[in-house]
Amino acid sequence: MDLTISIIVGFMIFGALYAIHARDLLSSVIACGLVGYSLVICFLLLKAPDLAIVQIVVDTITLIIMVAVVLDSSREESYLKLDTQGYISAVTAIFLGLLLLYFYTVSIQSLDVLGKSSLRMAKHYIEGAAQKTGSANLVTGVVFDFRGYDTMGEAVVLVTAVLGVLTILRLRGKK
């Protein structure tokens, strides 16, 4: 299974790189879709069907909206020539990337293999969760019972985002 996930992650990296360098913006959007749908297969292989359902639906709707935006505006990407500020930004980005890679290799040695062990807190959640919450689906039990505050915060964040979108996009307002 590790080999399969490695191949899929390779596909995702290829799609992300192609999305940056594509000349046509429509094919760039489709390459972004490649990243999202590969992530869905990764979630399914790692035994997280709840996340896979949410990811596949949200990815489809986002792709529809992005394709509509690209078809409505231009399909050509506007190229800019690199000046001194561009070179400085590129060097800074490469330096930060190397720094992150170094700290990642340091911190990966003290972590366990993905999915092989569970935290002490998670053990208390898993033991007898069906009797405590009464729900057969453990994820719903955790999301709405043990971690109810988080879910309420997510719902309020979504409402606030919609209010912001309406504030920006409504030109005329209500009569």
Binding site: D50, I53, G134, G141, V159
Partner: protein, 145 residues
């Protein structure tokens, strides 16, 4: 915005109802099978977006629909907080207290207040995703004039 051809219109009118029902199924069975409020709400919003894209803006009477979804979305969020607060009133004084009887694990009516949270969060997510899409369409229509 204009709609698509007659074949696309008829096909989406046949399919969108089934997608809507599937979203309701995912929400209602959220405490038994994978899925839940967020996933089912996005599926419902997807069916509404599908029928709006294929039939054009005139089919849904866009201006009325937008004010309707705003009210539904705000009401759903208030209901989530109300159910959470009602844990204060019944039993021990804990926010998000699961005060209803738990029932048998695996039945459709079980798990206390968790199905209510699923239904409210699903309504809220469907309304907010659809309202973002509608405001984008209305912005395009208005900026054209």
């Amino acid at each position: 915005m204009k709609g698509m051809t007659l074949i696309v219109k008829k096909t989406t009118q046949l399919i969108a109802g089934m997608i809507f029902m599937y979203g309701i199924y995912v929400i209602v069975h959220g405490h038994l099978t994978p899925g839940g409020g967020f996933a089912g709400g996005v599926v419902i919003a997807g069916s509404l977006i599908l029928i709006t894209l294929s039939n054009g803006g005139d089919f849904m009477k866009l201006i009325k629909e937008e004010s309707g979804t705003t009210i539904i979305e705000s009401l759903a969020t208030i209901l989530v907080i109300l159910v959470a607060v009602s844990g204060f009133i019944f039993g021990t004084k804990i926010f998000f207290n699961n005060f209803l009887p738990k029932g048998i694990v695996g039945h459709l009516v079980s798990a206390g207040v968790l199905p209510l949270y699923n239904i409210f969060v699903g309504t809220e997510v469907a309304a907010s995703i659809f309202i973002i899409f509608l405001s984008l369409i209305i912005f395009k229509e208005e900026s054209k004039e």
